[in-house]
Symmetry: C2
Subunit: 213 residues, 2 copies
Amino acid sequence: MPERRGLLVILSSPSGAGKSTLARRLMSWDASLKFSVSATTRVARPGELEGQDYYFVSEEKFRRWVKDGELLEHAHVFGNNYGSPRGPVQEAIDAGRDVLFDIDWQGAQQIQKSALGSHTLSIFILPPSIVELRRRLISRGQDTADTIAKRMRKSWDEISHWDGYDYVIVNDDLTETEEKLKTIIRAERMRVAQQPRLLDHVRKLQNEFEDLT
Amino acid sequence: MPERRGLLVILSSPSGAGKSTLARRLMSWDASLKFSVSATTRVARPGELEGQDYYFVSEEKFRRWVKDGELLEHAHVFGNNYGSPRGPVQEAIDAGRDVLFDIDWQGAQQIQKSALGSHTLSIFILPPSIVELRRRLISRGQDTADTIAKRMRKSWDEISHWDGYDYVIVNDDLTETEEKLKTIIRAERMRVAQQPRLLDHVRKLQNEFEDLT
C-alpha cells in the first residue's frame, strides 16, 4: 500500500502576532501533528522547557550540527543562533505525520529548498496593527526599551516578506485565526498527492465495476 | 486598489456520485459564488429549467458558439453536445466572483488550459462504491437498462481520471463532503494571490511602523 509522506507546515509572523499561541493550539487540536522544536544557543527564558520550547545547546554543539548538515535551516538573530534539527522532522514525515515549524522568513526559505521530498505549505500571520504588536511586545515585561525597539525593526523585516508565503491570515481574532489555520491544513490534506491510499479505493471500485459489467 | 480576480472551481465526478446536489448546496452557502450554467443540445429532462440547469440550444447555435470561441470548453457525450459559455464566466471573475463548474474531465482539462488569467482549482468526487453508484443511477427511474450500462461505462471513464485533479473527496456522507468542499474553497481564498487587498493592509502597517520608530 502506498504510504503518505507528512506535510511540512511553516508558520511565520512577526514577534507578538500570536504565532506561538496558535502553534500550541494546533498541536493540541491534532495529536498526529509533530512540532519541530528549534535548537538555540540563547539562554532559556523563565518558564521555557528544554526539548519542549527549544533545545538549548552550546555554540560549539550548534556549529558542529551546522557542519554535519544536522540542521534543516538556521539563522542568526540578535546574537543568538537558531535552527531546526533534521532528525525528528525526517522521522515524523517518514511515518506520515505532518510537521509544524514556527520559524522566520529566512528559515522558511531554507526549509522550502531542503530536499526532504515532502510538500511544503507556508502561512504568514499578519498583525491587525503595529500599535497592537508593540503593545503585545511591551506587555511581556521581559525586555528593555532598547530590546523592544530592536524587536520592532525585526518585526518589520519579517512583515516585509509576507508575500513570499502560500497563505496569509490577518490575526484580528485568535480563535478565528486558529480556525483558518485548521482549514488550510485540512484542505492541503485533501490534495491528491497527500492521499496515496486512495489508489486502493480506486482499485476496489475498478474490481466492482468489472464484476458488474 | 488592486482587485481580486475570481477563482475557477471545477467539480467533477461520475454521474450519480452526488455532484449536482453538492453544487446546489455550495451555491446556497455562498451567494457570491457564480454557477457556470452549461449549454447543451440535448432536450430538457422533466423539471430542468432553461438558464438554471442548462441553456438548451440548437445544434446550429452550438456549432456557431464553438466556431466563434464563445465556449470555454465543450464535449460530445452520448450524442449530445455540452459546453461552458465564456461570457458569464468572464464577467463574474472580472467582478471578483468565484465560478463553480460542474463538468467532466475533458471539460476540466480545457478550462485549465483556457487563458482566463484566473487560478483554477479542481476537485474530484469519488463514490464510496460502484454498487451504490449504479443504485443511484437506477433509482432516477429515467433511463433504460441500456442507457444505464452506457452511463456506467462513462462513469468508469470519468473515475479513471481522478488523479489529474488537485483535490479528491470520497463522498461517504453528503454533509461531510459538503463541509470538505467549503474547506477547500475557504483555504484557496486565503492564498496570497487571492488577497490582493492585503497590500493595502501592509501599507497601513508600514505607515504605522514609520510613525512609531
